[in-house]
């Protein structure tokens, strides 16, 4: 079993069914970067019956908040979250795509009002899921296809 390639964790979160190649993005979203203290293990390009290939991320001692789940769902809409306590899965759920997100994506349109540093405005997007996740700026209407590039 491929799961054996990464060690079990005692307490923390396992994020499974991440599209292959997006594990590093997920780590960035949950705030793990070089210098962080969390014990992290991950596997990339693991075989998956559902997805062909997938990535998995395990973080010891960290539970994931709603805001982070929203972000993860944008780049990994199929991801499943396993909450681990004392080596047991105590909760398991799929991320769900929010209808709209505020303040977590930047509009690619440089002339969009949401990119004017003088204005008290938070970029807000409507999320559509047809043939992949697409975010549409609620101000200027610009569509974002490569969402990971515009996460703030």
């Amino acid at each position: 079993m491929n799961l054996l390639t990464i060690s079990k964790i005692k307490d923390g979160t396992v994020i499974d069914h991440i599209p292959s190649g997006k594990a590093l993005e997920v780590l960035r979203i949950i705030g793990v970067r070089s210098g962080s203290k969390e014990k992290v293990s991950m596997a990339m390009n693991v075989e998956s019956s559902k997805m062909g290939r997938k990535d998995i991320v395990k973080v010891e001692g960290k539970y994931i908040g709603e805001e982070e789940l929203n972000r993860i769902s944008l780049i990994a809409p199929e991801a499943t979250i396993n909450i681990i306590e004392n080596y047991e899965i105590v909760r398991k759920f799929k991320v769900s795509l929010p209808e709209r997100v505020e303040g977590i994506l930047k509009c690619p349109n440089r002339n969009c009002i949401s990119n004017d540093p003088r204005e008290p405005v938070l970029a807000r997007f409507r999320i559509e899921n047809s043939d992949g996740v697409v975010a549409r700026c609620e101000y200027c209407g610009k569509k974002v296809y490569e969402i990971e590039k515009y996460l703030v």
Binding site: C112, R118, P120, Y139
Partner: protein
């Protein structure tokens, strides 16, 4: 019937909403012409906030408001106003809403009107936001088509700059609600963007001559010199999309143009029954009256 508080984007309107505004405009036609007096907006003040010049749009809103008995205040010259000195749009709006009952906003940033409608406690009407939306232009175009031709099962040719013209893009979105067949007439470098071509509406690529023979409406837009690498190239292209009286000899198609024109419609067309572009400018008044009445009453 539908009732809306702001008018930000043509995308927010259903076919029913559009029909409602257009039939309301009908009720104001004679008032717009000055043949009947109406004071339904007496005591109401409209603030015209134009951060970009657009004299025709501003004046037609002004005319619409005054014909209904209301008053208008203006930003004045941009250079002289405090807004030019680095004040945010948000602050400007919060001040202006203290002085007026409704704001008409034209601003160079896309999405500014939506943003304004979220900030203001009075209605906001979008009069153009950057390369974004200009819904009152689209509504007056639709009204012109309704009065001078017909809206349902229309055959319309869009001629000129189909790539950058936002009037064209919004008009297509609206016409999609009315089963139009759209003839596209443009130079290769100014073709309609892919994402609009994907819309569920009947498109036909055409040349100008065929289009004039087959359609009910010819909608002409300006081809801008800046879009071309050199002037020679521009002249060649622009010349082949120029409409003259001779081309219309056996055609009943109406000719529309959002104005100002440069030379894409010859002056000898002006006297023909096909020419409706000045009436199109007039129709902006009853349509804007209908919108003002909608948001203010």
């Amino acid at each position: 019937m539908s009732k809306f508080r702001n008018l930000i984007s043509i995308d927010d309107l259903s076919r029913k909403d559009i029909e409602h505004i257009l039939s309301r405009a009908d009720e104001f036609l004679d008032v717009a012409r000055g043949e009947r007096k109406l004071r339904i907006l007496e005591g109401r003040i409209l603030a015209n906030l134009f951060f970009e010049p657009s004299t025709r749009t501003r004046m037609s809103f002004e005319s619409a408001m005054k014909r209904l008995g209301g008053d208008v205040i203006n930003l004045g010259s941009l250079e002289a106003s405090s807004f030019a000195k680095g004040e945010s749009l948000a602050d400007a709006l919060r001040v202006v809403e203290q002085y007026a009952d409704c704001i008409v906003l034209r601003h160079y940033r896309e999405g500014s009107a939506r943003f304004a409608s979220e900030i203001c406690s009075i209605p906001v009407i979008n009069a153009g936001d950057g390369a974004g939306q200009h819904p009152t232009q689209t509504l007056l175009d639709l009204y012109t088509i309704k009065k001078e031709a017909r809206l349902d099962n229309l055959k319309i040719a869009l001629v000129g700059d189909l790539k950058y013209s936002r009037t064209v893009h919004s008009l297509i979105k609206a016409l999609a609600l009315f089963n139009a067949r759209i003839y596209l007439v443009s130079p290769d470098s100014l073709k309609l963007p892919e994402e609009i071509l994907e819309m569920d509406i009947d498109f036909v690529e055409s040349d100008l001559k065929t289009a004039i023979e087959e359609v009910d409406v010819v909608y002409v837009t300006r081809i801008q010199k800046e879009r071309f690498p050199d002037e020679e190239e521009y002249r060649k292209v622009a010349g082949s999309y120029r409409i003259t009286a001779e081309m219309l000899e056996s055609s009943d198609a109406i000719i529309m143009h959002p104005l100002p024109r440069v030379d894409e419609i010859a002056y000898d067309v002006d006297g023909l029954k096909n020419a409706v572009y000045f009436r199109q400018a007039f129709y902006g008044v009853p349509v804007r009256m209908a919108i003002l009445a909608e948001v203010l009453l």
